[in-house]
Protein backbone atom coordinates (compact mmCIF):
# COMPACT_ATOMS: atom_id res chain seq x y z
CA UNK A 1 0.00 0.00 0.00
CA UNK A 2 1.61 3.25 -1.11
CA UNK A 3 1.38 6.44 0.90
CA UNK A 4 -0.79 9.20 -0.54
CA UNK A 5 0.89 12.32 -1.93
CA UNK A 6 -0.34 14.33 1.04
CA UNK A 7 1.27 11.94 3.51
CA UNK A 8 4.55 12.07 1.59
CA UNK A 9 4.40 15.86 1.50
CA UNK A 10 3.90 16.12 5.28
CA UNK A 11 6.60 13.51 5.82
CA UNK A 12 9.15 15.33 3.67
CA UNK A 13 8.15 18.83 4.81
CA UNK A 14 6.75 18.43 8.29
CA UNK A 15 4.97 21.56 9.49
CA UNK A 16 5.60 22.89 12.97
CA UNK A 17 8.12 20.33 14.07
CA UNK A 18 9.74 21.18 17.38
CA UNK A 19 8.73 21.85 20.94
CA UNK A 20 7.89 24.51 23.52
CA UNK A 21 9.04 24.51 27.10
CA UNK A 22 6.48 22.48 29.05
CA UNK A 23 6.45 24.94 31.95
CA UNK A 24 5.81 27.97 29.75
CA UNK A 25 2.54 29.83 30.40
CA UNK A 26 -0.33 28.78 28.17
CA UNK A 27 1.47 25.69 26.87
CA UNK A 28 -0.35 22.37 26.90
CA UNK A 29 1.60 19.16 26.25
CA UNK A 30 0.22 15.82 25.14
CA UNK A 31 2.42 12.76 24.90
CA UNK A 32 0.75 9.59 23.64
CA UNK A 33 1.82 6.28 22.21
CA UNK A 34 0.43 3.44 20.16
CA UNK A 35 1.14 0.19 21.99
CA UNK A 36 0.60 -1.89 18.83
CA UNK A 37 3.41 -0.30 16.84
CA UNK A 38 5.40 1.56 19.50
CA UNK A 39 5.02 5.00 17.90
CA UNK A 40 5.37 7.93 20.29
CA UNK A 41 3.87 11.34 19.58
CA UNK A 42 4.32 14.63 21.40
CA UNK A 43 2.00 17.48 20.52
CA UNK A 44 2.02 20.91 22.14
CA UNK A 45 -0.26 23.91 21.91
CA UNK A 46 0.30 27.50 22.95
CA UNK A 47 -2.87 29.27 24.01
CA UNK A 48 -3.50 33.00 24.34
CA UNK A 49 -6.96 34.33 25.23
CA UNK A 50 -8.56 30.95 24.65
CA UNK A 51 -7.14 30.76 21.11
CA UNK A 52 -4.37 28.43 19.97
CA UNK A 53 -1.72 30.75 18.59
CA UNK A 54 0.92 28.11 17.89
CA UNK A 55 1.33 24.33 17.85
CA UNK A 56 4.32 22.03 17.61
CA UNK A 57 4.90 18.31 17.40
CA UNK A 58 7.55 15.65 17.53
CA UNK A 59 6.64 12.18 16.39
CA UNK A 60 8.78 9.07 16.36
CA UNK A 61 7.03 6.57 14.20
CA UNK A 62 5.88 5.82 10.70
CA UNK A 63 5.13 8.27 7.89
CA UNK A 64 1.41 8.26 8.57
CA UNK A 65 1.89 9.09 12.24
CA UNK A 66 4.22 11.97 11.34
CA UNK A 67 1.81 13.24 8.67
CA UNK A 68 -1.20 12.96 11.03
CA UNK A 69 0.49 15.01 13.74
CA UNK A 70 1.90 17.53 11.27
CA UNK A 71 -1.56 18.07 9.81
CA UNK A 72 -3.05 18.31 13.31
CA UNK A 73 -0.72 21.19 14.24
CA UNK A 74 -1.74 23.03 11.07
CA UNK A 75 -5.41 22.63 11.89
CA UNK A 76 -4.97 23.60 15.54
CA UNK A 77 -3.55 27.04 14.85
CA UNK A 78 -6.20 29.75 15.06
CA UNK A 79 -8.81 27.49 16.66
CA UNK A 80 -10.31 28.15 20.08
CA UNK A 81 -9.77 25.52 22.76
CA UNK A 82 -13.34 24.27 22.30
CA UNK A 83 -13.05 24.07 18.51
CA UNK A 84 -9.79 22.15 18.84
CA UNK A 85 -11.52 19.57 21.00
CA UNK A 86 -13.84 18.79 18.14
CA UNK A 87 -11.19 17.68 15.66
CA UNK A 88 -11.94 14.06 14.77
CA UNK A 89 -9.55 11.39 13.59
CA UNK A 90 -11.89 10.64 10.68
CA UNK A 91 -11.21 14.12 9.28
CA UNK A 92 -7.49 13.36 9.34
CA UNK A 93 -8.11 10.00 7.63
CA UNK A 94 -10.06 11.77 4.90
CA UNK A 95 -7.59 14.57 4.36
CA UNK A 96 -4.58 12.23 4.16
CA UNK A 97 -6.32 9.32 2.43
CA UNK A 98 -5.05 6.92 5.08
CA UNK A 99 -5.54 3.22 4.33
CA UNK A 100 -7.36 1.09 6.95
CA UNK A 101 -4.13 -0.27 8.45
CA UNK A 102 -3.01 3.31 9.22
CA UNK A 103 -6.19 4.59 10.82
CA UNK A 104 -4.67 4.08 14.27
CA UNK A 105 -2.14 6.83 13.41
CA UNK A 106 -4.97 9.34 13.08
CA UNK A 107 -6.45 8.07 16.36
CA UNK A 108 -3.07 8.71 17.95
CA UNK A 109 -3.13 12.31 16.65
CA UNK A 110 -6.63 12.86 18.04
CA UNK A 111 -5.52 11.42 21.39
CA UNK A 112 -2.50 13.73 21.36
CA UNK A 113 -4.71 16.78 20.73
CA UNK A 114 -7.02 15.77 23.59
CA UNK A 115 -4.07 15.16 25.92
CA UNK A 116 -2.56 18.56 25.08
CA UNK A 117 -5.90 20.31 25.65
CA UNK A 118 -6.40 18.52 28.98
CA UNK A 119 -2.91 19.43 30.08
CA UNK A 120 -3.53 23.07 29.14
CA UNK A 121 -6.86 23.15 31.01
CA UNK A 122 -5.37 21.50 34.06
CA UNK A 123 -2.54 24.00 34.12
CA UNK A 124 -4.91 26.93 33.61
CA UNK A 125 -7.08 25.69 36.51
CA UNK A 126 -4.23 25.29 38.96
CA UNK A 127 -2.85 28.69 37.95
CA UNK A 128 -6.28 30.16 38.55
CA UNK A 129 -6.40 28.49 41.94
CA UNK A 130 -2.97 29.67 43.00
CA UNK A 131 -3.89 33.18 41.91
CA UNK A 132 -7.14 33.00 43.82
CA UNK A 133 -5.31 31.63 46.83
CA UNK A 134 -2.73 34.38 46.59
CA UNK A 135 -5.40 37.09 46.54
CA UNK A 136 -6.76 37.68 50.02
CA UNK A 137 -10.52 37.33 50.12
Amino acid sequence: MAYSEKVIDHYNNPRNMGSFKKEEDGVGTGIVGAPECGDVMKLQIKVENDTIVDAKFKTFGCGSAIASSSLATEWLKGKTVDQAGQIKNTEIVQELNLPPVKIHCSVLAEDAIKAALNDYKKKADTEGETEAAATPA
Binding site: I31, V32, G33, P35, E36, C37, G38, D39, V40, K42, K58, F60
Partner: protein, 253 residues
Amino acid sequence: MSEHTHQPESGRTRDLPMARSMCWHCQSEMTGEYFCGRCVKVQPLSKELDYFTCLNLPRKLNLDEQALEETFYALSRSFHPDYYATKDEGEKAISLGNTALLNTAYRTLKDPVQRAEYLIRLEAGSAKDIRTSPPADLFDEILELQEDLDEFRSLSAGESDERRQELLEKLQADRRTLEARKAQMEDRLQEQFGRWDALPTEAEGDADVQTQKDAVLAGMQEILSNRTYVKNIVNDLVAATSPTAEPGRSAWH
Protein backbone atom coordinates in the same frame (compact mmCIF):
# COMPACT_ATOMS: atom_id res chain seq x y z
CA MET B 1 0.57 -47.15 4.64
CA SER B 2 1.79 -45.50 1.47
CA GLU B 3 3.98 -42.46 1.77
CA HIS B 4 1.48 -40.26 0.03
CA THR B 5 -1.50 -41.02 2.14
CA HIS B 6 -3.48 -37.97 3.16
CA GLN B 7 -5.26 -39.61 5.97
CA PRO B 8 -3.96 -38.45 9.34
CA GLU B 9 -3.60 -41.01 12.11
CA SER B 10 -7.05 -42.29 12.92
CA GLY B 11 -8.52 -42.71 16.35
CA ARG B 12 -8.26 -39.00 17.06
CA THR B 13 -11.60 -37.32 17.13
CA ARG B 14 -11.46 -33.72 18.02
CA ASP B 15 -14.13 -31.13 18.26
CA LEU B 16 -13.12 -29.00 15.30
CA PRO B 17 -15.40 -26.20 14.20
CA MET B 18 -15.30 -27.00 10.49
CA ALA B 19 -16.55 -24.68 7.78
CA ARG B 20 -19.36 -27.14 7.04
CA SER B 21 -21.07 -29.80 9.07
CA MET B 22 -21.38 -32.04 6.03
CA CYS B 23 -18.74 -33.34 3.68
CA TRP B 24 -18.76 -31.09 0.61
CA HIS B 25 -18.25 -34.17 -1.58
CA CYS B 26 -20.33 -37.08 -0.34
CA GLN B 27 -22.67 -35.10 1.95
CA SER B 28 -22.10 -37.46 4.85
CA GLU B 29 -22.12 -35.94 8.28
CA MET B 30 -18.78 -34.70 9.57
CA THR B 31 -17.59 -35.51 13.05
CA GLY B 32 -15.06 -32.75 13.25
CA GLU B 33 -12.07 -34.02 11.35
CA TYR B 34 -9.91 -32.63 8.59
CA PHE B 35 -10.88 -35.46 6.25
CA CYS B 36 -14.25 -37.04 5.57
CA GLY B 37 -14.52 -40.39 7.30
CA ARG B 38 -16.40 -41.88 4.40
CA CYS B 39 -14.97 -40.55 1.14
CA VAL B 40 -11.61 -39.40 2.58
CA LYS B 41 -11.86 -35.97 0.87
CA VAL B 42 -10.07 -33.05 2.50
CA GLN B 43 -12.41 -30.60 4.23
CA PRO B 44 -12.02 -26.81 4.33
CA LEU B 45 -10.86 -25.39 7.65
CA SER B 46 -13.22 -22.87 9.13
CA LYS B 47 -12.01 -19.29 9.37
CA GLU B 48 -13.34 -19.41 12.94
CA LEU B 49 -10.94 -22.16 13.86
CA ASP B 50 -8.54 -20.86 16.49
CA TYR B 51 -4.84 -21.59 16.07
CA PHE B 52 -4.52 -23.62 19.27
CA THR B 53 -7.35 -25.94 18.28
CA CYS B 54 -6.03 -26.12 14.71
CA LEU B 55 -2.69 -27.39 15.98
CA ASN B 56 -4.25 -29.62 18.61
CA LEU B 57 -2.74 -27.72 21.53
CA PRO B 58 -4.31 -26.56 24.78
CA ARG B 59 -4.78 -22.81 25.13
CA LYS B 60 -1.61 -22.45 27.17
CA LEU B 61 1.33 -20.13 26.80
CA ASN B 62 4.20 -22.40 27.70
CA LEU B 63 3.44 -24.80 24.95
CA ASP B 64 4.96 -28.10 24.03
CA GLU B 65 7.17 -27.00 21.16
CA GLN B 66 7.83 -30.51 20.01
CA ALA B 67 4.13 -31.25 19.79
CA LEU B 68 3.64 -28.00 17.88
CA GLU B 69 6.31 -28.95 15.33
CA GLU B 70 5.04 -32.50 14.96
CA THR B 71 1.40 -31.57 14.44
CA PHE B 72 2.40 -28.78 12.07
CA TYR B 73 4.51 -31.09 9.90
CA ALA B 74 1.88 -33.84 9.91
CA LEU B 75 -0.89 -31.46 8.88
CA SER B 76 1.38 -29.69 6.37
CA ARG B 77 1.93 -33.00 4.68
CA SER B 78 -1.72 -33.90 4.59
CA PHE B 79 -2.81 -30.52 3.18
CA HIS B 80 0.18 -29.91 0.92
CA PRO B 81 -0.89 -28.54 -2.50
CA ASP B 82 1.62 -30.83 -4.26
CA TYR B 83 -0.53 -33.82 -3.31
CA TYR B 84 -3.58 -32.19 -4.85
CA ALA B 85 -2.05 -31.28 -8.21
CA THR B 86 -4.09 -33.94 -9.98
CA LYS B 87 -7.30 -33.39 -8.02
CA ASP B 88 -10.21 -31.21 -9.07
CA GLU B 89 -10.27 -27.43 -8.62
CA GLY B 90 -12.38 -27.59 -5.47
CA GLU B 91 -9.91 -29.82 -3.66
CA LYS B 92 -6.96 -27.74 -4.90
CA ALA B 93 -8.57 -24.62 -3.45
CA ILE B 94 -9.23 -26.34 -0.11
CA SER B 95 -5.64 -27.58 0.04
CA LEU B 96 -4.30 -24.07 -0.59
CA GLY B 97 -6.64 -22.41 1.89
CA ASN B 98 -5.91 -24.93 4.62
CA THR B 99 -2.16 -24.67 4.05
CA ALA B 100 -2.28 -20.87 4.30
CA LEU B 101 -4.26 -20.97 7.55
CA LEU B 102 -2.02 -23.66 8.99
CA ASN B 103 1.14 -21.67 8.19
CA THR B 104 -0.23 -18.56 9.86
CA ALA B 105 -1.29 -20.58 12.88
CA TYR B 106 2.15 -22.16 13.19
CA ARG B 107 4.08 -18.88 12.77
CA THR B 108 1.88 -17.15 15.32
CA LEU B 109 2.14 -19.84 17.99
CA LYS B 110 5.85 -20.48 17.50
CA ASP B 111 6.85 -16.94 18.54
CA PRO B 112 6.20 -16.29 22.25
CA VAL B 113 5.31 -12.62 21.79
CA GLN B 114 2.95 -13.26 18.90
CA ARG B 115 1.50 -16.20 20.83
CA ALA B 116 0.72 -13.97 23.80
CA GLU B 117 -0.72 -11.23 21.60
CA TYR B 118 -2.88 -13.79 19.82
CA LEU B 119 -4.14 -15.26 23.08
CA ILE B 120 -5.08 -11.80 24.34
CA ARG B 121 -7.01 -11.18 21.11
CA LEU B 122 -8.71 -14.57 21.40
CA GLU B 123 -9.76 -13.90 24.97
CA ALA B 124 -10.62 -10.29 24.22
CA GLY B 125 -14.31 -11.07 24.54
CA SER B 126 -13.78 -11.17 28.27
CA ALA B 127 -10.98 -8.67 28.49
CA LYS B 128 -12.03 -6.26 25.77
CA ASP B 129 -11.74 -3.20 27.89
CA ILE B 130 -8.15 -3.78 28.84
CA ARG B 131 -6.77 -0.27 28.67
CA THR B 132 -3.29 -0.07 30.02
CA SER B 133 -2.25 3.27 31.42
CA PRO B 134 0.18 5.11 29.17
CA PRO B 135 3.70 4.80 30.56
CA ALA B 136 4.39 8.53 31.02
CA ASP B 137 7.88 8.07 32.45
CA LEU B 138 8.87 5.82 29.61
CA PHE B 139 7.60 8.34 27.04
CA ASP B 140 9.63 11.14 28.63
CA GLU B 141 12.70 8.94 28.56
CA ILE B 142 12.14 7.97 24.93
CA LEU B 143 11.65 11.57 23.83
CA GLU B 144 14.86 12.60 25.59
CA LEU B 145 16.78 9.76 23.95
CA GLN B 146 15.36 10.66 20.55
CA GLU B 147 16.64 14.22 21.01
CA ASP B 148 20.12 12.87 21.66
CA LEU B 149 19.81 10.60 18.66
CA ASP B 150 18.76 13.52 16.47
CA GLU B 151 21.77 15.51 17.63
CA PHE B 152 24.07 12.55 17.07
CA ARG B 153 22.77 11.97 13.55
CA SER B 154 23.17 15.65 12.69
CA LEU B 155 26.86 15.63 13.63
CA SER B 156 28.81 14.37 10.66
CA ALA B 157 32.05 12.55 11.26
CA GLY B 158 35.09 14.81 10.95
CA GLU B 159 33.63 17.84 12.64
CA SER B 160 32.82 18.18 16.32
CA ASP B 161 34.39 14.78 16.90
CA GLU B 162 34.56 15.27 20.63
CA ARG B 163 30.84 15.88 21.09
CA ARG B 164 30.09 13.06 18.67
CA GLN B 165 32.22 10.63 20.63
CA GLU B 166 30.65 11.72 23.90
CA LEU B 167 27.16 11.22 22.52
CA LEU B 168 28.08 7.89 20.97
CA GLU B 169 29.28 6.57 24.31
CA LYS B 170 26.18 7.82 26.07
CA LEU B 171 23.87 6.28 23.47
CA GLN B 172 25.68 2.98 23.58
CA ALA B 173 25.35 2.91 27.36
CA ASP B 174 21.65 3.78 27.05
CA ARG B 175 21.27 0.96 24.57
CA ARG B 176 22.76 -1.56 26.99
CA THR B 177 20.50 -0.34 29.79
CA LEU B 178 17.42 -0.59 27.60
CA GLU B 179 18.34 -4.00 26.26
CA ALA B 180 18.65 -5.20 29.84
CA ARG B 181 15.29 -3.70 30.62
CA LYS B 182 13.73 -5.42 27.61
CA ALA B 183 15.13 -8.73 28.85
CA GLN B 184 13.60 -8.07 32.27
CA MET B 185 10.24 -7.42 30.64
CA GLU B 186 10.51 -10.73 28.83
CA ASP B 187 11.20 -12.46 32.15
CA ARG B 188 8.11 -10.83 33.60
CA LEU B 189 6.11 -11.92 30.57
CA GLN B 190 7.36 -15.44 31.15
CA GLU B 191 6.07 -15.25 34.73
CA GLN B 192 2.66 -14.24 33.42
CA PHE B 193 2.77 -17.24 31.06
CA GLY B 194 3.13 -19.48 34.09
CA ARG B 195 0.33 -17.69 35.88
CA TRP B 196 -1.99 -18.08 32.89
CA ASP B 197 -1.18 -21.76 32.48
CA ALA B 198 -1.91 -22.43 36.16
CA LEU B 199 -5.47 -21.10 35.89
CA PRO B 200 -8.19 -23.73 35.58
CA THR B 201 -9.38 -24.20 32.00
CA GLU B 202 -12.75 -25.79 32.66
CA ALA B 203 -14.29 -22.95 34.56
CA GLU B 204 -16.82 -21.37 32.23
CA GLY B 205 -18.88 -18.82 34.06
CA ASP B 206 -16.75 -18.91 37.21
CA ALA B 207 -16.58 -15.19 38.02
CA ASP B 208 -13.59 -15.60 40.28
CA VAL B 209 -11.52 -17.39 37.67
CA GLN B 210 -12.61 -14.83 35.09
CA THR B 211 -11.33 -12.00 37.27
CA GLN B 212 -8.00 -13.75 37.62
CA LYS B 213 -7.85 -14.37 33.87
CA ASP B 214 -8.56 -10.72 33.11
CA ALA B 215 -5.86 -9.65 35.53
CA VAL B 216 -3.26 -11.86 33.87
CA LEU B 217 -4.31 -10.72 30.40
CA ALA B 218 -4.11 -7.07 31.45
CA GLY B 219 -0.69 -7.68 33.00
CA MET B 220 0.56 -9.26 29.80
CA GLN B 221 -0.93 -6.50 27.67
CA GLU B 222 0.89 -3.88 29.69
CA ILE B 223 4.24 -5.66 29.47
CA LEU B 224 3.80 -6.24 25.73
CA SER B 225 2.98 -2.57 25.09
CA ASN B 226 5.92 -1.26 27.06
CA ARG B 227 8.16 -3.82 25.45
CA THR B 228 7.16 -2.54 22.00
CA TYR B 229 8.18 1.02 22.91
CA VAL B 230 11.49 -0.17 24.31
CA LYS B 231 12.10 -2.43 21.31
CA ASN B 232 11.57 0.49 18.92
CA ILE B 233 13.98 2.79 20.69
CA VAL B 234 16.55 0.01 20.99
CA ASN B 235 16.26 -0.59 17.24
CA ASP B 236 16.78 3.12 16.58
CA LEU B 237 19.80 3.16 18.90
CA VAL B 238 21.30 0.09 17.24
CA ALA B 239 20.75 1.53 13.76
CA ALA B 240 22.33 4.87 14.66
CA THR B 241 25.26 3.73 16.76
CA SER B 242 26.37 0.55 15.03
CA PRO B 243 25.21 0.55 11.42
CA THR B 244 27.03 -2.67 10.68
CA ALA B 245 26.02 -4.57 13.80
CA GLU B 246 24.04 -7.78 13.45
CA PRO B 247 20.81 -7.78 15.40
CA GLY B 248 21.02 -10.08 18.38
CA ARG B 249 19.55 -13.53 18.03
CA SER B 250 16.91 -14.40 20.51
CA ALA B 251 13.69 -16.33 20.70
CA TRP B 252 11.99 -12.99 21.34
CA HIS B 253 11.62 -10.76 18.30
